[in-house]
């Protein structure tokens, strides 16, 4: 760490660290929304914070609380959340060729795994040298983890103090999901999967247990089997 601060004289390093921290601040605000929404859906402050500390992957956390808040079974909440977390596996694969330079020992790599998420992968892979990749990964990882959890805690504490319906907070989840969905609508396959997934969900809502329609919607990914972009 000391070495990193000492070398902030280097413009390259400074750029990476500043990007990571900016991202961290943005994510912190996102975390505030999660904290408030989660508590409004019925989770305790402790449960909300546990999700951010130990699951540490935003879309999954939002999805799990959305299903639970609607009265869905824990199994359905779990299923949807795991499906959304599956992309972290692909990120792990993408980062694995750099894993040697990012984390020398196995225990350190196992520790690093917890921080494999959208932002760390994106920032790390965007760098050209192994050294910058390592800095990007760890600065983003630890920075985001700190901001994410602080934001969650503050949001959860604030959310416990207000009435969700009066402030329209039940729309917080879908609003967040809409923002998260937008980038995926840029590709044709993404739009197809979204349309089909949404349709499958709405169709099955009236006759399947709460939360299960989300899992049914996952079948929409099959549009990717034949498709090309």
């Amino acid at each position: 760490m000391k070495r990193i601060f000492a070398s902030l004289n280097e413009p390259e390093l400074r750029r990476v660290v500043v990007s990571s921290l900016t991202l961290g601040a943005a994510v912190g605000v996102f975390a505030l929304s999660f904290g408030v929404a989660s508590v409004s859906a019925g989770a305790s402050v402790w449960q909300t914070c546990a999700l951010s500390l130990f699951v540490f992957t935003g879309a999954s956390q939002f999805s799990a609380m959305s299903v639970v808040g609607a009265g869905g079974s824990l199994a359905a909440a779990f299923g949807g959340a795991v499906l959304l977390a599956a992309r972290n596996f692909v990120y792990g694969l993408a980062l694995s060729s750099s894993a040697n330079s990012m984390a020398k020992s196995l225990p350190r790599r196992l520790f690093a795994a917890h921080f494999v998420i959208d932002e760390t992968t994106a920032l790390a892979l965007g760098q050209e040298s192994p050294r910058l990749r390592k800095v990007a990964f760890w600065t983003t990882g630890i920075g985001l983890f700190t901001f994410w959890n602080l934001g969650t805690l503050i949001g959860a504490l604030a959310g416990s103090a207000i009435d969700p319906q009066k402030f329209g907070l039940d729309i917080a989840f879908p609003a967040a999901f809409i923002v998260m969905l937008m980038p995926h609508l840029r590709s044709k396959l993404g739009r197809q999967a979204a349309t089909l997934g949404g349709a499958l969900c709405l169709i099955s809502i009236s006759f399947l247990p709460v939360g299960v329609p989300i899992l049914i919607a996952a079948m929409a990914v099959l549009v990717g089997v034949r498709g090309d972009n």
Partner: protein
């Protein structure tokens, strides 16, 4: 459930990074995995806006939904989208 989810999320991240190493995924698999967020997020949006439990319902949330779509499409930051959507819904409820 939190423990199970935490363990699963971690295992997914770990398997990619530590265990599988640089083996390539078949392209089809990769493509479909990449479509999970599109399919699931869309389903979640519609479920949370247009249903309550097992019934399809249209209520004040539609206002928030519409505002969110516009704000998100115009690339407003997440917190702005959430606040605008919540305000719209709360206002419609107050009328």
């Amino acid at each position: 459930m939190i423990i199970a989810l935490a363990a699963s999320a971690y295992l997914l991240k770990m398997f990619g990074l530590v265990v599988l190493g640089s083996r390539q995924l078949p392209k089809v698999f990769d493509r479909c995995l990449g479509l999970i967020p599109a399919a699931l997020l869309s389903a979640l949006v519609l479920k949370d806006t247009f249903s309550l439990g097992q019934s399809l319902v249209v209520d004040a949330r539609v206002a928030g939904f519409a505002v969110a779509v516009i704000a998100a499409w115009r690339r407003a930051p997440l917190i702005v989208v959430v606040v605008l959507a919540a305000t719209a819904t709360a206002l419609v409820r107050a009328i």
